[in-house]
Symmetry: D2
Subunit: 337 residues, 4 copies
């Protein structure tokens, strides 16, 4: 941490800060420039809790030097992590495809979707049983009934299953059925929920919030990791920008940034990221080319009658074509499905 | 709802759409332009659930005409609502000041804050017992102990109290203590939590999400209203933009927009909105001048040692000065505290 | 400037940096923490031009400590500046109203507008002769003919006049007619144009770019100031955010931020900032309450037939009402028109 | 265009609108819903200039149906365009690499860069002679001297050359030297400059503005096209968002969106888009995989001493490696260099 003093700061102002740091057993390095004095603070920053130096007399601003997340930080864990989902590995050369409908609508719909995604080569079936929807008048999900359909589809097709959880009680139900718990974008900063999934030992797919910086996203991961659950997979799914031609702006550059700052695997969701079926395939390829460890793709047996997110869902045929076009690109990237 | 067809749409494409609408008992008005045909859809749009017309052949895009929120919509409830908090009225000429520390830290700290905000003229004491913090290593709140301190301060100073709730179990505790339940920005789209507070009949202060459009914010209010709880107060607290000189960008224009689109009262929080103590007073005045129904202001007995948000908290003296400067402005605006 | 080294940086990496700094006659202060070494750099940073330390081996990042703008910086010019426009002073307790139509459409239209704004108490007439429009098929302005109509209106009503300039040749024409040259939001980073208006000695109204940080805005002002023209008035006119209920988001907090970081006067333009007539008056009041030195308000004799920006233009009656409501608020703020 | 009336609009309000449309020889289609009447307007919308229907009594809002750009619109020019730069074709299966230093610094530096980019397979040499820089104290470019060095390098290495122009006088010099005129992001809405380059018949590389929607970008292209210059190449180079881990957010999804909405070729600039050397290669691949027609990549013989943008410039070795990794990906995409 660097403390930058104002040009008009007095020696007394500087001494007051240095005194506080000493009291807290933190060392202070002073550098006096022509107009500005800066104080470098060395030691355990957490001792500063309850001391708001930035509002002390003479202080211009504090400049943090190190990230507040530790367990998710590549600086302290240089090797890339792999997350095991039963016999499936996410990361480390394995490319994972999580596909299926936005919402579980019925047993038949889900089985048809599961058949289609299995045929395309997906390893994980996605399907929402608890649906966070912008309007209270939209379909809200089948809840536990939906989880049962998911479990049936896993049985029949040998797929892993991932479901979003939106409350502590949803987690309680979901842990009895699913292989991966998903935290959706709207709940990325629902810290109580993060702690709850951190206390399960199930793999967690943590989507980036619409307005979350990468730093905040890794701090959200830190909530899960610091509860003792190291099995976190990150998922970029679009951020909110001024552009309206796409539903969100899929931040493909988040993939190399995560690879530089964290050891956790990261996948991308071009379906939610663009909101438009025609853009899903090019953006899926872009994510793979940028180094993603996998993709989440919405597939619906009949997109035109989907209860949720139909316009961004691929039909089974479109999904097969995407997978065919993706395979040689993955080989080129040294990844295998 | 308007359905805009592509220039190359065939008569068959158009007939297919019209056929679906007829089947659903919706009327269709066709307008054929030189290059584009549009179909106006009249009737209950909710019948379209499970029909994704935008991906039917020949369709360019759907253009919604009416808002999806109804109970929060001024079009259907032209008179401004007032929210009763015991003998205190929010809205309708009454200007409400909700003040106090970001986090409840101890009984002494809270009592000192309560005394200060009472002296300044605040009617409501704020104080966080459940703290959503970006880093898991930051102070997370005193939970129920904090609620008890809040209740004690209410008793002693005759203030109403407002506390943020971050989970269903926090709501269960909070309803036994508080006058107003607060939904924070990070939970604005935590729909499960919105339903839970909607089922209590307590007044709810609903903060705008960092990346939430006003339309999404009013849809979040609709979740609470549609559960049968009409006592919703909105709170603008800054949106995320590219600007870094302030912590967020307090969207003052949201105040007149809410007044035009909804009947619900709306207050502003310049403390979180700016994140900088020096900007709180000018922005508090700006919000009042723009027509806000109240303010939320962070006040701490000793900001320099606050456990949370010290840099944006006013000292008791600064709060008194703000209130003094605010009073003549409120009189000018026809508002009374 | 602070140079933050990576945890794995070697002594050799550190020595290499220190060596470069010494060669450039810059002093280096080392602070070695548990995981990270930081190097404080003292002296004239401009000597670093052509040395990109952030990509040297072992360097994590550079952290700038001081702003790159100097002449616009309050740190070096603590007193607030006033800008003289003939016998009119902007700043220092004088509140300036610049009003008139978005575009000059005809001599009659402009005279009617000038009469209306004079009646309301404006000191400056605005009117666009060179119009930057999103579509090439929209009205592009009357150019020099428009400037002549502006000069006539000044003559008749004793108003100062301000016109936007969009190219070097427009500046050449405009300097013969106008009292204030306006740089529009779209040209805030058209540095060639900034240098050209910097070489005139006319007052310049510099609007903030749609995506410009306050730091970039002050650097744009620095372009004008560093050419020897100190007469710069800043104008906040809305930034681009994800919100679509308003055309832009008028960043009211930019006003106190500018007051903290710069000595230049700053006004606000709620007409462009909101794009909606009904929001102009509340936002004009908000800007005044936040400490602005003036307002730019679009007024058109008949908004419903305006060639440009009609929907956000006030009618003469609306403008009179705004001015009536504004006067007591300005008195409260210690400002006079 | 659709005119949406307010719920409380009277028959008289509706008749007034219909009357105006009839006077202007535009047909009106009325659709009366339960709460809302909408009026579909058919015919040449430009006749509405000077009639601001959205502020007429009873009108809620206007909803545009067709885009304002025509010549750039794929709806009216369904086949993808190719742009000829001498014997080089941009678009239509040809993948173009434009590489070189951010700024031309000297004859030696540029020749070394030209040799490196030629060796890697680039067809076009980039190099800035007129540099728009945030601070007036940064290096501003060698101007015409820089253009001459560019022309020398073209001669020696058989490369085409592209240079940014920032003013009308820069265009006058540049047309005598360069093969492609570049409009930078900061000047995308400098409409006077767009008209000037539109009147040359040289190919124009039009970068997207930092805060420009895709619709505004295509309208900027329309300025050039409507002056009679059809040789426009678009370049996505990052938009401004709240994320600070990258300098900008390279909007890869703009590539498929442009392919859907326009016939113009589009390339991407991952150097400016990310601002970080380590992210250039993954983002270059992502752009290619998403269907871009080319790339602009900054290459400097010695990035650590570059006068401008060193931290995002590749060294010659890094560029060679990028090109090697890119070639098999381009083959997969059916593109050839």
């Amino acid at each position: 941490m660097i403390i930058v003093m104002k040009p008009e700061a007095t020696n007394q102002d500087i001494d007051r800060i240095v005194g506080i740091l000493k009291e807290l057993n933190l060392s202070a390095h002073l550098s006096k420039g022509e107009t500005t004095t800066i104080i470098g603070l060395i030691g355990d920053k957490s001792r500063l809790a309850g001391h708001n130096l930035e509002i002390m007399p003479g202080v211009d601003k504090l400049v943090p030097i190190t990230e507040s997340y530790k367990l998710a930080n590549k600086k302290f864990h240089p090797a890339h992590s792999e997350v095991k989902v039963g016999d499936l590995t996410v990361g480390g050369g394995n490319f994972v495809i999580m596909s299926g409908p936005c919402a579980v609508e019925s047993g038949e719909q889900l089985m048809a979707a599961a058949e289609a995604v299995k045929a395309g080569g997906a390893q994980v079936l996605r399907g929402g049983a608890y649906k966070p929807r912008t309007s209270p008048y939209s379909f809200q999900g089948l809840e536990e009934e939906g989880l049962r359909y998911m479990a049936n589809a896993r049985e029949k097709y040998g797929l892993k299953i991932v479901c979003e959880v939106t409350s502590e009680s949803a987690v309680k139900s979901a842990v009895r059925y699913v292989d991966i718990l998903q935290i959706g974008a709207r709940n990325m900063q629902n810290y109580e929920l993060l702690k709850v999934v951190g206390r399960t030992k199930l793999p967690v797919l943590l989507k980036r919030g619409l307005a979350a910086t990468i730093d905040e996203w890794l701090n959200a991961a830190e909530y899960i990791l610091s509860e003792g659950n190291p099995h976190v997979i990150l998922c970029e799914r679009g951020i909110r920008t001024f552009e309206t031609a796409t539903r969100h702006t899929l931040d493909i550059s988040a993939i190399p940034v995560i690879k530089a700052k964290s050891h956790l695997p990261v996948i991308a969701d071009p379906s939610h990221g663009t909101g438009v079926r025609a853009y899903v395939t090019p953006m899926a390829k872009a994510a793979a080319a940028a180094g993603a460890d996998g993709l989440m793709i919405e597939v619906h047996p009949t997109p035109e009658t989907a209860m949720s997110d139909g316009p961004q869902s691929l039909s089974p045929e479109e999904f097969l074509r995407l997978m065919e076009e993706l395979r040689p690109l993955l080989r080129l990237m040294g990844k295998h499905i």
